[in-house]
Amino acid sequence: MTDEAGILLRVSIFGFVAGVVYWFLSYEWLGTVALLLLGAGPGFAGLILVQEQRHRGGTGESRAVALRRLAGIPPQDPPGPEDLGAEDLGVLPLPTIWPLAASLGVAMLFTGLIYGLWLVILGLGLIVYAAWGWLAAVNRENRYGRIQADTEAPSPQSGPVSDPDPHPSSARQPES
């Protein structure tokens, strides 16, 4: 069991125990339901993590690592960053306006509950439009990669302090 799952399952156990104890002390249903739900929510998330780890064949904390930890033996160090394979490299998404547009739509939809149906419909329309644009942008980036307009000209460094080259890295240049 990974540390993540352990944390969630412990909170879950607390929720169930507190819920049962609370019921027999107070016979008050609302708090009992809330506490049992507190047991169910993290428990569900924790079980998903356990399930997923089994599915992957336990790349999280193995039984051996867990035993070492419980026995107080310091864990063996996992592979450092230089051992990373290419599949672990991340991709940063491009700037996009759609989260702002979708949020505006949600705000209009909710405010429309006060000011009338026309605003609800406008908000829904904006949400659908933004979701479409959002997914199209995601698709485009997945298919063609991240298109960089100014790969040739290095842009000025961000931030108020211009620090010419703090990390003189002999690294490879980006493929442009």
Binding site: L113, I147, G159
Partner: protein, 560 residues
Amino acid sequence: MATTELPLPALPEAHHEEPSGGIVDYLTTVDHKKIGLLYIFTAFAVFLAGGLLALLVRWELATPGLQVMGENTYNQVFTMHGTLMIFLFAAQVTTGLGNYLVPLQIGAADVAFPRANAMSYWLYLFGVLIVVSSFFVAGGPAAVAWTAYAPLSTSEFFQGTGMDLWIIGLAVVGVAGILGAVNLVTTIFRMRMPGMTMFRMPLFTWGVLVNQLLILFAFPPLTVVFALLFLERNFGAEFFDPTAGGSPLLYQHIFWFFGHPEVYIIILPIFGIISEVIPVFSRKPLFGYRAMVFAFFGIAALSFGVWAHHMFATGLVYLPYFSIMSLLIGVPTGIKVFNWIGTMWRGSITLSTAMLMALGFIVVFLIGGITGIFLASPPIDFAVNDTYYVVAHFHYIMVGGLLYGMFAGFYFWFPKFTGRRLSERLGRWHFFTFFIGFNMTFFFQFLVGLDGMPRRIADYDIERWTTANVLSTIGAFLTAVSVLIFLWNFFVSIRRGQPAGDDPWEGNSLEWVTSSPPPSHNFHHLPEVHSERPAFDHRHRDNPAFAAAHTDPERNQDRG
């Protein structure tokens, strides 16, 4: 065509930097650092607005009689003060810091869902705008206190669009909070660099993790209760009307099932900040790392079991259960304070402004916490419920806890955000005016509270309360001066501050390994992580003494 993949070991400088600073860049950004800064600036603007309302409250209460506003306006002012401060500032400024710092501290390039992260910020901003817009509608903003108890907040007793805007705005902020929480929890669970096990994460990341888990489990009840209230106000539902089979207590139960975890949503990341600042300025590793982590979870779990101690005076809750659970929270909190002091013990302490703020935090948080333990006892709570004693207690926790920790974090991480230091000289002025002003404001409220002065009143006609109230008002204005000093410090330092370099404090966690401010992909180079102090190990990687200390199992066990 070029994909900006992130080759973790090394990346060339500045070729893929986004041009930053333009308004379009901020409107379209998906960079967790810019979003974090947007969160922090928005929350701070809300803080300034809420602070102005607080000054109005103090001005009104300085002497008996009505000075600046009528009673209804007063109700609106203190309601909006509480709303802005608790819902829209306190829980959000720490989310902003977490957004900026968590990916850096775990060695990730960004959060798990960068676009959804942007969306949660914009939802938060629109929520703020909806709530603030209630100042400009007929009838003005809500005047039902930040708790908005039904039936007071139902349409039977409080008409007007202001209340509806209040509900809708906070519901939107609640949705934003849940979205952001999913994002940050996934980031912490899934985006850690190799070697960064859960039990090597910096305490601030732990604080944010527990805080976001609390948001995940506490904000849904809040959204539910606001939905019920909105249905009751606008669509004729009768959840809270006893004549129709509803119950006003339903509102209080659900609200406080959110409301008490909210206190820890606010304070847990602050615990994390303090646990980062104190080891760095004591030149020692944190005392009892694992105990600190388990204390986080102890506090978080217990915080869900204590909601009805806010409802003792209703006479309809089972007192011993909630009293015992509330008293129990003192245990993990005590562990934390003990460990902070243990960290400082025999350390080589530098009294920088961040450290002063952290020490101030411990003092005021202890006062707030200990007075809270009294309130966990039902007989005392019956006596002082809804008096200024309670006001003073939770301001010692909220203002004391949150603001000292927040300012400690600002002074600590400002060099990382901007590449420049905040002025230490102005910082000292800031700290001492704040410390004196804050204690003057709230300490005397304990005394008048014990004397029976009720909260949420615009006027009082008991002369012996005047001295305490005048002192309290002077303290409030002194606190405002200290915030102005901070703002002055900010504007001066961001232009002309002393350049800080990448690691001005010789910090412990990974954000100090990268440049200040960090590049858009966060790291040019990631060191290996072998302990909970990767930046420290990296700094001393060539020193055989430190290397030996780190491979020595017994030492590791102590710290583990």
